[in-house]
Amino acid sequence: MRALTWHGPRDVRVSRVPDPEIVNPRDAIVKVTATAICGSDLHLYNGVIPTMRAGDVLGHEFMGEVVEVGRGGAALRAGDRVVVPFTIACGACWYCREGLTSLCDNSNPNAHMAEGLYGFSGSGLFGYSHLYGGYPGGQAEYVRVPFADKGPLPIPPGLSDEQVLFLTDVLPTGYMAAENCGIRRGDVVAVWGSGPVGLLAMKSAYLLGAERVIAIDRWPARLRLAESGAKAETLNYEECGDVVEELKQRTGGRGPDACIDAAGMEAHGTTLDAWYGRAKQAVGLATDRSHALRQAIQACRKGGTVSIPGVYGDLLDKFPLGVAFAKGLTMRMGQTHVHRSLRPLLEHIEHGRLDATFIVSHRWPLSRAPEAYRIFNDKADDCTKVVLDPSA
């Protein structure tokens, strides 16, 4: 089959690789009908996530048709149309039973690697380095889906691929980011990063009862999208000198009730500390740049909540813990527990309360995936989200 494979920093190719096969009883094989490039794929693209190997198949946002089911995958049948959570979860361990599926104890075959780095291992992920299990990803014609009786969600007829594709990752991720804010009536929520996760966090924040949502970014096209698609107020940090002060002014001196860092470890910025972070990352002194997170902590009102859906990989310095402590902040973070929000979110989509399709900027064939990575990474051509057709 054809698949998008990784060969080194900024080197991805469409290659021929062996078709996947059923390995374990609970496996299924899914023929991919739509797949997307995620902002976190850009961390792999840029080579900032360790344990990638040449030839690894990328992609963790995909959906399709079940073509084969192992003898333990009873819940699914060939022909079912499903979306597949990017986190792989057994459904049986304590974490899965608690709904914390991205912390599944049993789905990362390379758990020892994650334990070496973090002391513990979370769940395996599709197409996201050997640290997270080395599972081939979904930017391919076919994918082997482990624990298929627990993960994939059958999609009712009448909904297009694009309407439900983002249930695999960015929609639940944006939703959990907003959920983690503990939003109450009257809350103002500020969101750093107007990429797909940020945009969907903004929509989710309104859905969960926020009064106002403020989008912070520097790309005019993305800010326009935040305004038109997510009904957010916008703040271009390149145009406003002091983001923290500006947010204070816009919130009666209080600061936003909740702040969401949807930028993560490759956050951009124009202030001195942002350039210091970039320089350190460039020479390998620190994996994570924390500019957006730092601002979120500084801007948040006393007793507020900082929610972090953006990915962080390792150590962080210049972390204003004193500020967070002084203001009694709550911080919530982590990989998305996709499984638990699939059904409620599907219901929102079915009832027209949540539409994520506005984030799509490019619909391209898989054959053009390398070019798609390049423009998405460079934020060229107003690229916010690329959906790939694996059959083309």
């Binding site: 390995v23 374990n24 459904g91 049986a92 020892h112 299990g133 390998g284 390792d314």
Partner: protein, 225 residues
């Protein structure tokens, strides 16, 4: 594996005075840690002699591995799987076979490093249903071995804590004399991975793998419900 450990490469304050101070602190810390480790080890070994789940070999020599994992099954269910010692090869990578012999004893064959086969006879020294199984080698074997597995209910609904303790020691002047040096490096990791697979089988019903079908080694645990 090539995980970048940034900690070792990131000098936070590359200032000469501070570097010397840091080095001094590190030395003191290492010394203190070492002393603590020594006293702790001794204390553990003394305790060994009083508890059936803490098997100790004469003089406390050899390899001693202790690992614990929490599994979402009842102590009784997990005990049942371990109780049948003949099925230990399904649980422990390096145990090739356990065959019953006379008088309630069993003959163990273990694959050692570089294809060496080590064998000994063992007897059960403790068997408390749903709680504890312990065994140790008897007579003249290639290796002096003792092991135990204890099942303790975890707090709340967290399942069962399974603690495995294994010790291997070379009998004086025998072929196994190098066992410790050859085997000691990976024994801890092997037990950890064995327990991880056991947990996966008991909870998820299969062992997670990302290898393609042809190369995946996925032995199934017979009789799992």
């Amino acid at each position: 594996m090539n995980i970048r450990r940034m900690t070792s490469r990131a000098p936070a304050w590359p200032d000469a005075t501070n570097t010397r101070a840091a080095a001094a602190i590190a030395l003191v810390a290492v010394a203190a840690g070492g002393a603590w480790a020594l006293t702790t080890t001794r204390r553990t070994r003394r305790a060994d002699k009083q508890r059936p789940d803490m098997p100790a070999l004469a003089g406390g020599k050899g390899i001693h591995v202790e690992r614990t994992v929490t599994i979402q099954r009842s102590p009784a269910e997990l005990y049942q799987v371990w109780r049948d010692l003949e099925r230990l090869p399904e649980l422990m990578t390096h145990v090739e076979s356990v065959t019953p012999t006379d008088g309630g004893r069993s003959r163990w064959i273990m694959r050692g490093p570089a294809g060496i086969r080590l064998t000994w006879e063992a007897e059960m020294v403790a068997d408390e249903p749903g709680r504890l199984i312990a065994w140790r080698s008897v007579g003249d074997g290639d290796v002096e071995h003792a092991g135990s597995v204890r099942f303790t209910p975890a707090p709340g609904d967290r399942g069962t804590e399974v603690k495995v303790i294994l010790t291997y020691a070379p009998p004086a002047g025998r072929i196994g004399a190098d066992v410790a040096s050859l085997y000691g490096m990976s024994a801890d990791q092997d037990v950890r991975e064995d327990l991880r697979r056991f947990k996966q089988r008991m909870e998820a019903g299969e062992v997670a793998t990302s290898a393609p079908a042809r190369s995946a080694r996925v032995p199934e645990l017979a009789g799992r419900t």
